[in-house]
Structure formats: C-alpha cells, structure tokens
C-alpha cells in the first residue's frame, strides 16, 4: 500500500467556553490515501466539522489544537508558521463547505474569486488566471463558463454555486480536498450530481477526499473508508462495505438502524436521548448512557480505540461479544 496522503494522529481540539478550555474533539486519528474518499460521519455536535477545520487550522481564536499531529505528505501542518500554512491552504489542500449560498463572497464575481486563488498560489498573470478560471468552471460542468465568470454569486443557483466552490478548490490542482457537508443544503437531484462530480475528481486526479457528512446515504454512495464520530471521539473506523455490513460499535449500528430508508428496507429503531455536550463528556464510554447494550464495565473507565476485526478500529469494550448485524428480518440477532 502507498503511504497516506494525510495522516491525523491523536488530534485533540479545545474550545474556550466561559473562560476555560473544553476539549470538543479528543484523540481523533485516521488516514486518507491518494485517490481515496474517506467519510467522517456523525451527528451535529459530534466534532466532525471541528476536526476537519482543525486540519487546516481554520478554527479562529476561540479554538486551539492542544495535542496531536496532522501529517500531510509527512509534514506536520500543526507546526507550520501561519504564512506556511496559508501556502498550503487552497494550494495543496482545498476545502469546500456546506452552504454554497454563503460561502462565496457576494461582492466579487465568481471569476475573480477563482482567479484570485490561482494568482495567489501559482503567481499567474491576470490573463492566465482568468483562463484557468474558465477551464475549471468548464470542468465542473458550468455551461457557458467563459461568459459566466463575470457573474456574481447571486446570479447562480445553489447547485451551481457548489460547483463554483468546487471549481475554486480545484483551480490549483490540490492533492487533497476536504468537503464539509457539501451536499446537505442541496436538493436530492442536485446532491447526486455533486457527489458524482466529487467521486469522479477523486478517481481522475488521484485526489484524496475527506468527506464530512451526517448522511449515511451519501457515505454509502461515495466513500471508501468511514470514520464514525460520536461526542468528540472516533468510535469506529473501517472500510465502507464492511462497516455497513458488520458494524462493530453499537452507535454505528444504532445510527444505521435509526435511518429511514428510501428503499423501505429494515425496521426503524430509535436511539433514545441526546448526545452529551462537551462539558458533560463522561470519563468512561461516552455512548454508554444511550447504549442498549451497556453494562457495568462500560462505565468503568476510559475506553481505548482498539483494532477491529476485519481492519479499522473500534472503541467499545463489548465489541467482540456483540453481533450488531442487521438480520434479514431487520431485528437484532
């Protein structure tokens, strides 16, 4: 196997809450290989977005990375200077966001916003940058790209804006793309188009993609590897087909089963309660309070992320005792 493009090790992010630092994300580790699409899955508040912002150090003054390393091509991004980091952003690692409606600057034309990043990182001339902008807009399937680079973001629909965002992210031929809920705000038919585009780009350009989402449907559709987060921790990490077929963590299983499916398969089950807030994270298993399989051992102390059967990792003391597969009848075995 090749070496990972991005390797995240024990990433811990803290946020200032009423004057004290609260860990919001604890010991997150995963790898992304070139050409691979890795999904970071979790509900809101699970720390998935915080983690991916921390990779590019985009979490403003109120957050800090207190531990861990983010190795990109062997370089630790967390030890770079601000200026060096700025050279990485948008150049070697690009990022797209959830809200295409608000992620583009309304005051500048899309052409200038794309050209800007080309000029910044490639030192291209105005004309070259403009040419590149047309090229990438064309690549992401914007019709009549040459005539649309003079338009402002508000003149594009949501799906088109997300394409523009992707075009902007691709303009510098980055080796890695971080996509934070790129399809959540879009209609399903448009969502499918965008997902296909991302998949194609990963495949065609050998780009590593980190796809942050809460939608297991999106994961099932597009990803190679899945990292499931709950309450600021990675609870399970595995190859896509395997994790869907044989989830090893009760939360993963619960999440999959709580989801209504458009194909009508399976009975819906509900995870009772709500996830804990960062200031209520327990020392022991963070899912124990909601876990149908919880036993006394679950509350004995911190649970480590252990290697998982069939590869990956899982954070559950009972993982080997439980069979969390969905039976054909849709009930627990």
């Amino acid at each position: 196997m090749t070496t990972p493009l991005l390797s995240v090790r024990d990433l811990t992010v803290e946020f200032a809450v009423r004057g004290s630092w609260q860990p919001v994300v604890t010991d997150v580790s995963f790898d992304v290989m070139p050409g691979q699409v890795v999904a970071l899955v979790g509900e809101s508040g699970s720390g998935k977005s915080v983690s991916c912002f921390a990779l590019l150090r985009l979490h403003g003054d109120s957050g800090r990375t207190s531990r861990g390393e983010v190795l990109f091509d062997g370089r630790d991004l967390l030890s770079l200077s601000e200026r060096e980091m700025a050279d990485v952003r948008g150049n070697e690692i690009s990022m797209i966001f959830q809200e295409p409606m608000t992620s583009l600057n309304p005051a500048f034309t899309v052409g200038s916003q794309i050209a800007e990043v080309v000029r910044r990182h490639r030192g291209a001339s105005r004309a070259e940058a403009r040419k590149r902008a047309i090229e990438v807009l064309d690549l992401v399937g914007i019709p009549r790209a040459a005539s649309r680079i003079g338009d402002y973001p508000h003149q594009f629909s949501g799906g088109m804006r997300q394409r523009v965002m992707i075009a902007m992210a691709l303009a510098t031929d980055p080796r890695m793309l971080i996509a934070d809920e790129p399809t959540t705000a879009l209609d399903v038919t448009i969502q499918a188009q965008i997902l296909d585009l991302v998949k194609d780009l990963a495949r065609d350009f050998g780009m590593g993609v980190l796809l942050v989402t809460h939608d297991l449907g999106v994961v099932a559709d597009a990803c190679d590897e899945v990292v499931v987060m709950y309450a600021g921790q990675v609870v399970e990490r595995a190859e896509c087909f395997d994790i869907f077929a044989r989830p090893r963590h009760p939360y993963t299983a619960g999440l999959m089963r709580s989801l209504p499916r458009v194909d009508g398969m399976g009975e819906i089950e509900i995870i009772p309660g709500t996830p804990p807030m960062p200031d209520q994270f327990p020392e022991h298993c963070r899912f124990a309070a909601r876990c149908p399989h919880a036993v006394a051992a679950c509350e004995a102390g911190p649970v480590a992320l252990e290697p998982r059967v069939n590869g990956g990792a899982v954070r559950c003391v009972r993982t080997l005792e439980l069979d969390l597969r969905r039976t054909p009848e849709g009930s627990l075995a």
Binding site: H214, A220, D221, F244
Partner: protein
C-alpha cells in the same frame, strides 16, 4: 368513513414580488381522508410550501377551493376563518423561529386555547402540562422559554401546541428536516404515534423521501407548482410512474453501499426552470430524460394507472377503465 376530510380542488397560489405575480402553485387537486397521513413531496421551489399556505389560508389562494369537512376555507374571513382554523393546525419547519421567544412554554401551548376556548388561566395551564407530558416533556418545563430547549424538544412543543385543540388535520411543513438524525427520528415517531392515537389526519410536507416512506399512507409528488404523481406510498415507491418521481427516488441515496452502488440511477440534468416562464407542454419536459416531442407541446392530463393513483405524464399507460370519459 364518508368522503375525504380535506378536499383541495384546482388550487392556484401566487406570490406577489413587487408588481409581478409569481405563480407558485398552478392547479392542484389533493384529498386527505380522516386519519390519513398524506405526504407532499418536492424539491425546493416546487411550490409545496406555498401549497400548504394556500390550504391553511395563510396566503389567500388565487383560485380553487379548499374544503375542510365540507366547508370551503377559501373566501372565509374574520371570525368564520378563525373558527375554521381550530380544526386545521400547523407545525412549522424551523423550531427556532416558530416559537415566540418572549413566551413561556405553557403560554405558547395555551395560546390556541385562549383563542378558541373559554378556559381560564389555571385550566389552560393544566391542559398545557398535560400536552407537555404527552409529547415527552415534563411539567416543570412549562415555565421555561423556548431558547432553553434543543431543536427536537422545541419541535415537541410545537407539536403539543398544534394538537392541544384536538384538530382534525395537522399540517406539518418540513417538521423534522431541521433536526439531527436521532432527534428527527424521535420526533417523527412521536408525531406518528400521536396522530394515530388521536385519530388526526396529517398533511406532511417534506423533501426527504426516506422520511415519507416511513410515515406516509399516501404520497403526492410536486414539481414546479403541479402534482405530477400521487398514490399509495408503497405503490409509488415500488413502482414510480412519472419520470420525475423515478429520478427523485433514484437520486436519494440508500444507506447501504451494496444496494446503493448497484442501483439504477435516473440522472437529471439541469436545474429547476424559472417559475416565471415554465417550459411549454409538460412542466418537466425540460429535464425529462424520456421526453418526446409531444411533451414539449402539450401538458399531460392526469392519468389513472390504478384506482388510487394518478400520474401526469404522456408516457404512462392509463387503465382505460379508470379514465374519465371525455365528452
């Protein structure tokens, strides 16, 4: 049961934008039987929210009738409309803005009682607490304010408020789409349980097909202001007739890689046309992968492939026995 509870006929709703009028719903027929859950599905811009507002008279429809239990809501004004509203209550999409932040939970749940009943303060409070417990909150929550609750909890409050008058119909406008997976589930289950228990009919508006499948008895699919297909949920999901319904279903990913990656997909190109100038002929003709020349020229009439469903598409074979005989 005799006849539908809600009978919508030829509903037209427009929005005024400056001096221009933007048609959002153009001719919609829809029935909801007592105790039935009907889902109205569509993407953004399909006009489903406008349809809801036209049905509940939050916007006065341009044309058409909305019969609730035999009374036409269109044209009702003042007191009569207010009285009629007792039977048709709403749950809104955004649980953050649909509850007045300056009112306590008990006041919020009690507000419909002030309007429609002669209950005194103490009685209202008792009723409110009852409702709170019914939606899984506790009596001590009654004196708190909306901002102290999570989204799921707020939506429970909104449901309590909608059900406190025991209406005949609850209209839920994207009631769970702003919620997280786990609370979405909880709220959905609660809603399902309560409407079954109270025998309330529900018009459920959403863009999420998976949710529809879970909750709906019947489904109506909207595209650009018109219903393109409607029928029993199982039938519609298993054998969608309209190309748009098919596209919609195939675009919604299934959370199972094995199934998902082996599915046949109907790829749509392009985006929703401008509602100010819809395509000629069939509204879907500009994006339809199966469109034939006729589709661009003539708007299809509703066809009935089965007694309980209808499709507006030239390519669908109608059951001749069910086709209304033309004069």
């Amino acid at each position: 049961m005799s006849g539908p509870l809600l009978q919508v006929r030829d509903l037209h709703v427009s929005h005024r934008i400056g001096r221009r009028s933007l048609p959002a719903v153009r001719g919609m027929d829809l029935d909801v039987a007592p105790g039935e859950v009907v889902a109205l599905v569509g993407e953004s811009g399909s006009g489903k929210s406008s349809a809801v507002r036209g049905i509940t008279q939050l916007i006065r429809p341009e044309r058409g009738s909305v019969l609730l239990d035999g009374t036409d809501l269109v044209g009702l004004r003042g007191k009569a409309l207010r009285r009629a509203r007792r039977d048709i209550q709403m749950v809104f999409q955004d649980p953050y803005s649909s509850l007045d932040p300056s009112m306590s939970v008990a006041e919020l749940i009690g507000e419909p009682l002030i309007v429609h009943t002669a209950q005194g303060r103490a009685e209202r409070r008792r009723t409110a607490v009852e409702m709170l417990e019914m939606v899984g909150l506790r009596a001590e929550h009654a004196d708190r304010y909306p901002h102290e609750f999570s989204g799921g909890q707020r939506q429970r409050i909104a449901i309590a408020r909608a059900l406190v008058l025991r209406p005949k119909l609850v209209v839920a406008d994207e009631a769970v789409s702003a919620l997280d997976v786990s609370s979405q589930n909880q709220v959905l289950a609660l809603l399902q349980e309560l409407i079954a228990e109270l025998g309330v009919a529900c018009l459920f508006i959403t863009h999420d097909l998976a949710v529809v499948r879970q909750i709906a008895d019947r489904v109506a699919v909207m595209y650009l202001g018109t219903l393109v297909e409607q029928g029993p949920a199982d039938v519609l999901f298993d054998a969608p007739q309209h190309p748009y319904t098919r596209a919609l279903l195939s675009a919604a990913p299934v959370a199972d890689p094995v199934v998902q990656r082996s599915r046949q997909r109907v790829r749509l190109t392009g985006e929703l046309p401008d509602p100010m100038n819809p395509p000629t002929g069939c509204v879907f003709s500009s994006r339809c992968p199966d469109a034939i020349a006729r589709c661009h020229e003539e708007a299809p009439a509703d066809r009935r492939p089965r007694p309980d469903s209808s499709v507006a598409c030239h390519l669908v074979e109608a059951d001749p026995a069910l086709q209304p005989s033309l004069p």
